[in-house]
């Protein structure tokens, strides 16, 4: 396996796990083109391509592991569960925000025996620390700002806070968020103005605003009614398309707008 570099800098070309393993039967060589950046040596980001054997059942994450383990141990990215649960490996794959652990190679192969190229970039709108690793703090700051926890006043109940099935269903969709940031970093408004709370924060506010056990809806609606709140959304649906959990993100945002328009004012 060879790594072709377009960088002026000298990259280590050995992986973190030694020699390459045997290529499995049925694997196809694909080009993995990665947007790389090491702030300590690179003046600016550049593209680097690797040849990697891929099975149709591989996820993009497997290819990144291959690069890191056998070709270039300096490649930096986040991942934890590798099963679409922890939300740590959001990245821009072939131009769209996806979790690397949820994109199957069989869906990316170019037809007709053409060479397959998979481009991988860091998610957009957050500062890049290194390679595919971005600073998530601005994202989590917006999350914290909408008070994403149960707010209840008065005496604690002596038993569970009960809720009907219908009341639970009201906000079921937005409980599924894994805070991966695929949505917020696909939002053109967030790209240009980082103070916009962004779809993920609104999804998590929605999860409590429409929870019958919660009493903090007015506080959160006030926050989302201000200049960086829901009125900034231009209804472009990028966030809904990006969400790996299939959450109807734009719909949740519209429901918050509707609550502001018709429940109050």
């Amino acid at each position: 396996m060879t790594a072709s570099t377009t960088s002026p800098t000298d990259q280590t070309t050995s992986g973190s796990r030694g020699t390459t393993p045997p290529v499995p039967e049925g694997a196809v060589a694909v080009t993995v083109k990665i947007r790389r950046f090491n702030p300590e040596v690179d003046p600016e980001p550049y593209w680097q391509s690797f040849e990697v054997p891929a099975l149709p059942t591989d996820r993009v994450l497997n290819l990144l592991h291959y690069v890191k383990w056998y070709l270039d141990g300096t490649l930096t990215f986040r991942r934890s569960c590798a099963h679409g649960i922890c939300g740590s490996d959001a990245m821009k794959i072939n131009g769209v925000n996806r979790l690397a652990c949820k994109v199957l190679m069989k869906d990316l192969f170019a037809g007709d025996g053409k060479q397959t190229t998979v481009t991988i970039e860091p998610i957009k709108g957050l500062p890049v620390h290194k390679d595919l690793l971005v600073d998530m703090e601005p994202f989590f700051e917006a999350f914290r700002a909408v008070k994403p926890y149960l707010i209840a006043y008065g005496n604690e109940p002596t038993r569970e806070r009960l809720q009907s099935q219908a009341d639970r269903a009201r906000f079921d969709d937005t409980t599924k968020c894994i805070l991966c940031a695929c949505c917020t970093t696909s939002c053109p408004v967030y790209w240009t103005e980082g103070s916009y709370f962004g779809p993920a924060a609104i999804v998590n506010a929605h999860r409590f605003i429409f929870d019958s056990r919660d009493e903090g809806a007015e506080e959160r609606l006030d926050i989302l009614n201000d200049v960086d709140g829901v009125w900034r959304c231009r209804t472009t649906f990028n966030c809904t398309d990006a969400c790996p959990r299939g959450i109807q993100v734009t719909k949740a945002i519209q429901e918050v707008k509707r609550a502001l328009l018709f429940r109050r004012t």
């Binding site: 700051e141 914290r144 103005e193 006030d222 926050i223 009614n225 200049v227």
Partner: protein, 141 residues
Amino acid sequence: MALTTEQPLTIDKPRSSGRPAARRSNFELYSWLFMRLSGLLLVVLVLGHLLIMNILDDGVHRINFGFVAGRWASPFWQLWDLAMLWLAEIHGTNGLRTVINDYARKDATRFWLKMLLYTSMVLILAVGTFVIFTFDPNIGD
């Protein structure tokens, strides 16, 4: 372990966000609503205007001083044009306000671009309204 940091040993509370408190104002809500309502009215006003000025009869070829004078003799068309002027101007200004909010990087840039925008809006509204109400068909006499 030796402490090498010169920064005070404080850390933000886990729930802090560093944003100013919400302003409890419905301005953004009304501005959003206004874009939709004025947009609806503009469909009728602007398309009607384009139809009359560019398509009916001879279209643009019949437009001259007399044609405009004839239309503005009627309070109906005066009101039509007045509504179109105000709605389109405020709609466009509010739209550009959104765009400036999105794209301006510095607070000072944002502030001055908006001042420029609001000044131009006031001037255009004033001059336009003035013309509609004080138009004199016998100006050349």
